[in-house]
Amino acid sequence: MSRRLVVVLFLDLVGWTRLAERVDPEPLQQLLEQYYEICSSTVEAHGGVVEKFIGDAIMAVFGADTSQEDDALRALRTAFQIRAEVGDLRTPGADGPPAQIHCGIAAGEALVTRSARAGMRVVGDVVNLAARLQSAAVAGEIVVNRTVADLARRHFVMAPVPPLTLKGKAEPVPAFLVTGVGTGDRAPDGAPMVDRGGERTRLREAYRAVVRDRRSRLVAVLGPPGIGKTRLVAEAVGEFAADGPEPTAVFATCPSYGPTGNQAAVVQVLDALTRQSAPARDLVRTNSRVAAVVTSLRDAALSRRDGNVPGPGVEEASWAVRELLTAAATRPLVVVWDGLEWAGQSLLLFVGGLIDSLPDLPLLMICVARPELAERDVPWVRALHEHDVVDVRPLEPPDSAELAASLVAAGALPDVQAHALDLADRVLVDRATLYGAGNPLFIRLMLESATPGRPLDDIPASITAMVGAMIDRLPAHAQHLLGVASVVGSTFTAAQIALLDEPAPDTAVEFLVQRRLLGTGTEPGEYFFAQQAVHEVAYRRLDKQRRLAWHRRLAEHGVSPGFHFEAAVRLLGELRPDDAELGALAACAAEALLRDGTAALRQRDMPAATDLLERAFALVPPDGSRSVAAIRFSDALMLSGDMSRAVDVVTEVVRTGVNERDRRACMAQQHLLAARQGRIPETTVADLLAELDRDPTDHLAWCRFEQLRVQIHLAHGRFAAAERAVGAALRHARAIGDGYEEDRLLVALCEVRQWSPTPVAEKLAVCAELLDRFAADRFLLVPVLAAQARGLALLGDDCGARAALAEAEAAVDQLRLTMGQVLTDQATGLACSLHGDHVEAERHYRRAADALERFGYVPVALTLRVQAARELASQGTDPATPPVAGERDAARQIVALLDRRDEMDVRGRLLCMSAAVRLGVGGDPDALLGDILSLLERTDDPCLRGDVYVDLAQTHRRLGNDADADAMAGAAIDSYHAVGATRAMRAVKAWT
């Protein structure tokens, strides 16, 4: 049982029913006999099978057993021949008109089964379609579907007819009337010859050697169908004249089937020789024996000879061809035998005999064939040496793209063209490049079949037919292995294949590698499909039942469970939509995809994460737990910058969720997203809290809710509370073993703690712990290192701080982390400032501010600008720099920043105002002081408070209020002390 591309032909006699009314059964029976005879012998001659006769109707199938790439052509030739031969029959009666047929042909996928009782059966829509097309054809017409038209376009003339509205079909079906036989020649299609320089050079060198040494030589050009062998040889032979004398070049092509293939190719050579070479022509004229052999061979090739009279013997034929070649050898000779994979044993022996018996002729024989030729048991083939073989390999991707692009452009390229991107063209080129896998014919077929409205990843029938035929010609064990491997994926290992318990001998793998259908990976036992089309066609040929079983088995053994469970769910849904297991299988798929998606999220591979999590979310059964998938998907969307979809996903669960917990968790996420956008719904927080209180074990919802609290506290400068909320969220994440949330929260903890009143020593302990945890992921490591450097700098450990910063800088530089750069600049600014290097500190703060501004984070950028200006002001106290200029600049900047204080966060506002007071700028100092004190009430960042108190102390000292100055200095010392910022504390003490 297999799914395959088949071509189904329906035909019957026109007006049969009326004839049966009119005429006696006896003469009718006689007509039918003749008609059956014509039909069955013609179908058989073209390689088809008559599936059944019903009265005067006949159904025949091509490609049921073994596909041939030209099945559609064979069916059409069959129809033409039957139409002609039946036309010679007369219907019974006095002046009975000639009999006529009408015919429908459709190509498509069908399931071919075989049983002892029913024989072969072809099941599929394609059968009904062929029958309908036949009904639509009037007397003498042959009507085909689009796939047949695609497959036969180069060989038959076709005209579209109005689409057929068929019973049971929603959409009208496009149909084509076959009006005649086309030229079918391989005229150049205008496509450029891409690459192939190496192969051409080798052929030219062979020709040069033949001419120089006057010794005959045979070269084989081998490559898979469509790879461009014929074109390559034609181009190369065309270039031979450039290197010396122009050759007499003759071409012969073996027909792919038919009774007279061997003779046909020989006759093509003979005809071409007598046409092109005057000495050869003279020989036929003057030597009657040669002439007789030529005539006799030609008759045999055209089936004109009576089978009872033997033609010339093999020796005689060889002799005549030798004579002709020798006569023609006044000029160098090139004989090209194309399609030798179709040649019978006798033709191969004939070719070998010729080259052996004519060693001293300037004769280059080029044998063009598929790689299978190498397996033929013929002496000269076995003796082929590496340097006699030109291997035609797939094009490299850039060459494929160039070919595809020039084919696309050739379609309707105007003289001059504007360069606005036609996206459809670009997609077409990319797709043809990918699926064509370096095969020029596939690339062309891909583009030919491209019509608007076709699904993009659909492989055209013409390629399916070619690849299917190629697979059918493989030995059974290799075919089976391709099928098994195709389910695993485009890359697979021997161990994965073994999981399926299917026969997969090593010899089959080796054979496929040899045929270059499979490539080998870097590790032993790793393989990949060399061509995407082979992978897809091999997969599509498996019946769905088997695909389902194998996907499932792979998933259950832990091989990409997300992908394989998902495929199994899809197949089961198609085969048995009501299957009770479907729900459980979908849940497995969702869980596996969620796992993969979360891993991608943790690796910050957003495109992959979004894709996987969307699929996971879609597969969670409506009554299952949807909130985890929804929230992760929402996170992925938010991090990819698609905030509105991020909100939509959770809103949908809130609106439609049947599960209370799902709704709560998603509601928390909704608010969290709103908070991130600066819309902080303090009032709704209370409502949410009331709901959550009902279920203290709903850890996911609580975890997100605490994160919401963090956002709100941060916005208000309440750092201790924010830190507590992070801790609470962390505990909930740990309660459900959620490593993804845990990582995120630990990083958040580091960041929040920069400003919280937790003692520095404690912060550093946590940093050390996290450095271990994130050792493998430097993206997460950077904020921890920055926090560590900050802590160490506050303690006065400059050496340690520098080391941490160096490590962070290296990661930032190597991984190109833009925001990481901001973090390290910020920490470096602080470290330099504490160390008294205000020039460096100013530079780092300024650089961080520039970066943040570029990314649109205005409030934080402004804070950093304030810090940079403060450092500039401090440079005035440094004896190494000219004092006045720096301070004046700083004052100007602070005044400008003061105007924008409403855009700043609490921290920026405080630092800006206190700097203004200290520098004695910015208007009424008392008003500023009032604002500063009320803001100080609201924030609990001890270092920030300390810094502000220091400013105020300096201000009082400048104004001569020594008592106030001392009080403020004391407050600063207390603040620094509370958090253990010893370095800053010492500085204040020294100042007082």
Binding site: D415, V416, H419, A420, R426
Partner: protein, 281 residues
């Protein structure tokens, strides 16, 4: 992505040594410039002179092929553009260099396609008119026009007329963007109109914004469009800015200035420099 463009992802920067003149940076090149005094011609499908994002259009011509006369002639016309392509390009130039004098020569038909003869006539006319910068967001793949176009591009180069030409969007050979006498431009995906990169591996020399670019749309509004067509006008406009500040620059010097100011070229010390090329990994 259009062909020849910078990959949007999976690239790594590879530093290669380069030497740059420290004195020449973006501030020197176009700081404070607005394009005043520079004449830019858009050789395209015409330019809509009424479009608020484009107006005013200084002069406009179209190429006319009269019955019985094989050689097309260039005649003045109203500034109009039914295809919208030229207007989109002109709008990009106007946005970057607001005070340039913009002119149009319509060589494309009402679709986005035209004849080789019209292109040659239009380009020849633009060079005779002595424009400082000519933007060509188009090309031909017909080899029969190659020689004539090459001659014209060389003539422009020697007459101090900078041709800025978009690379083809598909990986095929076409002209004149791959001539050495012009500036060839492909796309990068970053939403920054003033950011462009020097490409050290020819034939494309610069990559400018070309993906989802906001452009003037027919009828007065704005839309987004993608293609090397829209990358070229960014470089044309930046070139116009530079020329408005340093009108004495020859095409050779102008190209060098653009190289110095590219986002991936940085000075290191007084003599040393560094050029980062983006390489797909």
């Amino acid at each position: 992505m259009p062909a020849w463009s910078m990959p949007a992802e999976n690239y790594r920067d590879e530093p290669i040594p380069a030497s740059v003149f420290e004195a020449i940076d973006q501030d020197w090149a176009w700081g404070g410039a607005d394009g005043h005094g520079v004449r830019v011609c858009v050789l395209d499908s015409g330019v809509d002179g009424d479009h608020p994002l484009v107006a005013p259009v200084d002069r406009a011509w179209h190429v006319v092929t009269e019955e019985g006369n094989r050689i097309p002639s260039v005649k003045p016309c109203e500034p109009q553009d039914s295809a919208g392509h030229g207007t989109a390009c002109a709008g990009i130039i106007r946005a970057i260099a607001p005070r340039v004098s913009l002119s149009s020569i319509k060589v494309l038909g009402d679709g986005k396609a035209g004849s080789g003869a019209a292109l040659i006539a239009g380009l020849s006319h633009a060079i005779e008119e002595g424009f400082d910068v000519i933007n060509m967001s188009l090309s031909t793949a017909r080899p029969e026009y190659r020689n004539r176009l090459a001659e014209l591009c060389d003539r422009a180069y020697f007459r101090r007329c900078m041709l800025v030409v978009a690379a083809h969007n598909l990986p095929i050979e076409s002209f004149p963007w791959n001539f050495a006498s012009v500036i060839s431009v492909a796309s990068h995906a970053e939403p920054d109109s003033m950011r462009y990169y020097y490409n050290a591996t020819p034939p494309v020399e610069f990559c400018a914004r070309g993906i989802r670019v906001p452009v003037a749309s027919p009828g007065g509004g704005m839309t987004r469009n993608t293609g090397n067509s829209f990358a070229a006008p960014h470089i044309a406009a930046i070139a116009a800015l530079v020329l408005s500040k340093h009108p004495w620059l020859t095409p050779f010097q102008l190209k060098s200035v653009l190289y110095h100011c590219a986002a991936n070229v940085a000075t290191q010390g007084v003599e040393g420099g560094i050029l980062l090329t983006r390489i797909t990994s």
